[in-house]
Amino acid sequence: MKLLTCPINGTRPLQEFTWGGEYRVMPDPDQVSDEEWADYVFNRNGAPGIKKEWWHHTASGIWFIAERDTERDVVLRTYLYSGKDE
């Protein structure tokens, strides 16, 4: 069984979690062109690597960040979002 560690609830089976995609900084929609906005909405960094991702612990509703190697599927660390764009 694959496990993931929620910063609040501890180590739980992966089935309890939902993947939220890569962490990205949202541009101000009033400040960017339509093309830049479409780039933010649709385009993704699809290449393999160590990525910072959103994960959701479905049972308790906790959203947090996981750093994961997408090639080996190994989670390096998990922590709560600080509230500041990094």
Binding site: T18, W19, D34, A38, D39, F42, R44, T70, E71
Partner: protein, 413 residues
């Protein structure tokens, strides 16, 4: 012992022609370089040579021919899609498939089975009626059928599905078929090879040389190639290649798993798909049940398999076919599906002159092999998007003109 066997034992070189020429030396310059020796890349090479007379072409494959998603899918061919553009495109592919064995002089075991998409709810039945009407309007053999018809065609199925999700009806697509998938790659490879295309296996692309927005060459593990045209047909490796030229796409890689059972006596001569139960299944000529489900729920760039997948799939298989409870799963594998937000491929020209893309094939690529080869070769030869793929262009995202092809994947939405 037949005498011809002796020739194989005593000859220093293989005495019969191989499927393709094994070449030692990469050329210095080609008119077109195709990255990816799967069905799509080889089909494009074949039609470039056959339809457009362009034969100074090389195909570069990092691994072995047809070893990626071409050899990992569940071999289903159908054209009962939802949008008029999707239907026209996949129907052209199905027509090409039907004549392909003749074209190649190679048996693809193309077998027309009839394809059922089961509906377990009222809302699923509504979608089936919608798809059937779109299909019929566009001349595709596709109709909504009731429980009696399903019972007659697939008597082994428990229409109540153990009582908790009874089948109400189905979308029935008579031309739905299966084919031997690796033979499709080999057939295109041999046809291209015979016409002068050079195929290199175990050859990895390390970089793409772009100057002033134009392709100049390709760096490979066997040396540098000068070329002005590159076609990228690498499915799950697409983001690695587009990163080399600095193009952004919406593609996210998610593994799609599949498995086969041990061979059993033939009993299933149709293709069964259930969106609600997340299962598709057909029986191969060897008697194995070939089964698949939806993509794994997060991004992974490898082809690992999981027990979760087999457990979930088998539970749903037993809902439909309880008598299989003693049948064993023999093999399991995964492919890297290049998913797009609108379940449609990304094909054609890109902002880089001379760099063409054939990607975003997610879970629906095998059935499109012939038509993607045909349309991409036209696009590369003329430097103009073929009319059938205009709707799949990369720029549709920035133009907010997505396709809405929800009928694309059989399961998962």
């Amino acid at each position: 012992m037949p005498l011809r066997l002796l020739r194989f034992a005593l000859s220093r070189r293989h005495p019969e022609p191989r499927m393709f020429t094994e070449r030692d030396k990469l050329g210095k310059t080609y008119d077109v370089v195709i990255i990816g020796g799967g069905g799509h890349g080889l089909a494009a090479a074949y039609y470039l040579a056959k339809n457009h007379g362009i034969t100074n072409v090389c195909v570069l494959e990092k691994n072995y021919l047809g070893g990626g998603n071409t050899g990992r899918n569940t071999t289903i061919v159908r054209s009962n899609y939802l949008t008029p553009e999707g239907v026209a495109f996949y129907d052209r592919s199905l027509k090409l498939f039907e004549d392909l064995s003749q074209d190649f002089d190679l048996n693809l075991f193309y077998s027309t089975r009839g394809h059922f998409t089961l509906a377990h709810t009222d809302s699923a039945m509504r979608t089936m009626r919608w798809r059937a009407e779109v299909n019929k309007h566009l001349g595709i053999e596709s109709e909504v059928v009731g429980r009696d018809f399903i019972k007659r065609m697939v008597p082994e199925m428990d229409l109540e599905c153990s009582g908790h999700s009874p089948i109400q009806g189905a979308l029935y697509h008579k031309p739905g078929a299966v084919a031997r998938h690796d033979a499709v790659a080999w057939g295109y490879g041999r046809g291209a090879d015979m016409r002068g295309v050079e195929i290199f296996q175990k050859t990895e692309v390390t970089g793409i040389d772009v100057e002033n927005g134009k392709v100049k060459g390709v760096g490979t593990s066997r040396g540098y190639i000068s070329t002005r045209k590159v076609l990228c047909a690498v499915a799950g490796s697409t983001p690695r290649i587009t990163k080399m030229v600095g193009i952004r796409t919406p593609i996210v890689i998610q593994p799609l798993q599949a498995c086969v059972t041990e061979p059993i006596k033939p009993w299933l001569d149709t293709i069964i798909v259930s969106g609600s139960l997340h299962v598709y299944v057909s029986q191969s000529d060897r008697g194995e049940l070939v089964m698949g489900a939806s993509v794994d729920p997060y991004e992974i760039h490898s082809t690992r398999s999981t027990l979760d997948f087999t457990e979930g799939l088998c539970a749903h298989m037993l809902d439909m076919f309880p008598f299989l409870s003693n049948t064993k799963v023999n093999r399991q594998w995964a492919g890297m599906a290049d998913m797009t937000p609108d379940f449609a491929p990304i094909m054609g020209k890109t902002p880089i002159e001379g760099f063409y893309i054939d990607a975003g094939w997610g879970t629906w690529g095998f059935k499109a092999t012939p038509v993607s080869g045909e349309t991409m070769s036209h696009t590369v030869a003329n430097d103009v998007d073929h009319e059938l793929i205009h709707t799949f262009r990369l720029s549709r995202f920035k133009e907010l003109d997505l396709t809405g092809e929800k009928g694309a994947a059989s399961v998962g939405h």
